[in-house]
């Protein structure tokens, strides 16, 4: 007779394997760590997961992750309501925030158009975006979706949808990383930067 892990431990390992970037071996290591750590730490983790899930939701205005609805950014009176930056994921919003350059408001799509995954405009937060724009305060929409095939399709879709309504639609530039050396940049990025060159 060959013996395996107790059922509860097997379950824990299986649950951990479902997480992104975690394979069976890492899951096993994490599971044993959780069993060997103090009760306080293990329960703390479980509580943190539950609390984060219960307290956060999508903002009813911009669809960003938030604990209060509407979210702090949407309520911030110092931000320019005429500028709206559209991103794919909440993590893109936080990346944009780190620049401290952008002083407008956001809209999170929660994905990009991708027929192979069955994602069209209906699966994104495009409808709430449209009703936001109907209020008429937004002067410019900045599309900051990823520079890949799906992100580009989403950007094109939004520009076709919004331009006829008289709203200015811009796309963030593709180009060179700042502080790098030209010789180390890959050809595609350099070719894109060349295409988007401007007069100085």
């Amino acid at each position: 007779m060959v013996y395996y892990y107790p059922q509860s431990l097997t379950n824990l390992i299986e649950e951990l394997t479902k997480l992104p970037g975690i394979g069976p071996k890492t899951a096993q290591r994490l599971a044993f760590h959780l069993l060997n750590t103090t009760e306080k730490d293990a329960v703390g983790l479980a509580r943190a997961i539950m609390t984060a899930r219960q307290k956060t939701r999508h903002c009813s205005v911009c669809a960003n992750l938030t604990e209060d609805d509407p979210c702090p950014i949407c309520r911030d009176a110092n931000r320019d309501p005429g500028l709206l930056c559209v991103v794919e994921q909440p993590r893109d919003l936080f990346a944009m925030e780190k620049t401290r350059e952008f002083k407008g408001k956001y809209h999170v799509l929660h994905g990009a158009i991708s027929p192979m995954d069955g994602v069209g405009p209906e699966q994104l937060t495009v409808n709430t975006l449209l009703s936001r724009l109907q209020e008429g305060r937004v002067k410019e929409v900045i599309v900051a979706t990823n520079p890949n095939v799906e992100g580009e399709a989403t950007a094109l879709y939004l520009s076709r949808l919004l331009k006829p309504k008289g709203i200015k639609v811009t796309r963030i530039a593709h180009g060179l990383p700042v502080g790098g050396d030209l010789e180390y940049v890959d050809e595609i990025t350099l070719a894109k930067a060349y295409e988007g060159r401007r007069e100085i």
Binding site: S114, P115, M116, G120, A153, L156
Partner: protein, 372 residues
């Protein structure tokens, strides 16, 4: 460009091997299945980082061993390079240039350039458009590494668009989404078509020249690109008018595309026609003419690489000498002359070349005789 030495460990049927090559012609003789082509495969591997015969690196490891190792020295105008690749059964591949590991394969390929001519190349002339596209794209990637990215991106767009076409079938109201994908398809697709035409514009005259020489001026070879549903309008087009034509075609094909659920227009469907004295070689050419055409294409490729990189690549002739008649063989050797380093495999042990040469006799993965 000279490929001056080769070291092999556990590669195919070779346990261990070390050769210093001749800068002229290197004849590799032997009976069938002794390991002649394996030597060309090893040289080509150092050029492209993969095998031209097998998609699986594991098949290249000697059957009773755990790894293979290839090392070679390349002398170029800009300096000497020591290239090596090791591969283990666990799937670990390590490529080094002058002893320093290169993490990206794109930093390894392109140091040694090769042109390979084997009997299968007759397929370029004889078989399907897909084979010709594969040939052309393959050559272009060697010359312009960024072209590969364009091809990948285009493939992805076509895949996404086909998914959408299948989904839209029967739902008229959602067709506005198609426009978004059309725009990307047309943009990326037109760039591919333009790049292909640019390359054919250079390759065409070179192939014509080669073909004229081989046939003693009797035959005129022409390469005609056929894109966007066989339209000659393409010839003089710039990128913007290409996009316009492309968009027009794709709008016209909408009904049919929705019905079939696939993208019907674009560079993934294009072809190029090879014409001798205004006749399509594929349909009307004799076996001999088809062979000559394939040879002309390969020799043109050699000249194109010389023009783009300022050095001749290394020429690998895999078992083609027996396929060519006396006059074509003569001409081939004339072109090679003293300027292109060449590796020739043959079963004909009496075959000799009058110039600077090294002759190897191969038997069961060993060199049994080497004469200079």
């Amino acid at each position: 460009m000279l490929f001056s030495s080769l070291v092999l460990r556990n590669f195919r049927n070779y346990t261990s091997l070390q050769i210093e090559w001749s800068p002229g012609v290197n004849l590799i003789c032997g009976l069938n299945a002794q390991g002649k082509s394996n030597l060309l495969e090893a040289v080509s591997y150092l050029s492209t980082g993969s095998s031209f015969r097998s998609g699986k690196d594991e098949e290249l490891i000697r059957w009773d061993q755990q790894f293979f190792y290839i090392q070679g020295t390349v002398l170029r105008q800009i300096g000497d390079y020591n290239l090596s690749v090791g591969y283990t059964r666990e799937g670990r591949k390590v490529a080094k240039v002058n002893g320093n590991q290169r993490k990206k394969l794109s930093e390894f390929i392109g140091i040694l350039n090769t042109v390979i001519f084997s009997p299968e190349d007759l397929d370029i002339v004889k078989t399907s458009p897909a084979r010709r596209r594969k040939y052309l794209d393959g050559e272009m990637v060697q010359l312009f590494p960024s072209y590969l990215h364009l091809l990948w991106q285009y493939q992805k767009i076509v895949f996404q668009r086909n998914n959408l076409l299948k989904e839209l079938n029967g739902k008229k109201n959602k067709e506005s989404l198609l426009g978004v994908w059309n725009e990307q398809l047309v943009d990326t697709g037109s760039r591919i078509i333009k790049k292909r035409m640019e390359v054919l514009k250079k390759l065409g005259p070179l192939a014509r020249l080669m073909h004229r020489k081989i046939t003693g001026g009797l035959e005129e070879l022409e390469i005609v690109y056929e894109g966007l549903e066989r339209d000659e309008v393409l010839k003089a087009a710039d990128l913007n008018s290409l996009k316009e034509i492309f968009l027009e075609r794709i709008e016209k094909a909408r009904e049919e595309e929705l019905k079939r659920g696939v993208t019907l227009i674009g560079p993934h469907r294009d072809d190029f026609r090879l014409m001798i004295n205004n006749n399509d070689v594929k349909k009307f050419g004799s076996q001999g003419q088809q062979r000559t055409t394939a040879l002309s294409l390969k020799l043109a490729e050699l000249e194109l690489m010389k023009a783009e990189t300022s050095e001749y690549p290394v020429l690998l002739l895999d078992d083609v000498m027996s396929e060519l008649d006396e006059s074509r063989r003569e001409h081939l050797l004339q072109v090679i002359g003293h300027k292109v380093q060449t590796f020739i495999t043959t079963t004909d042990a009496d075959y000799n070349y009058s110039g600077n040469q090294l002759k190897l006799k191969i038997s069961q993965g060993r060199i049994i005789n080497a004469s200079r």
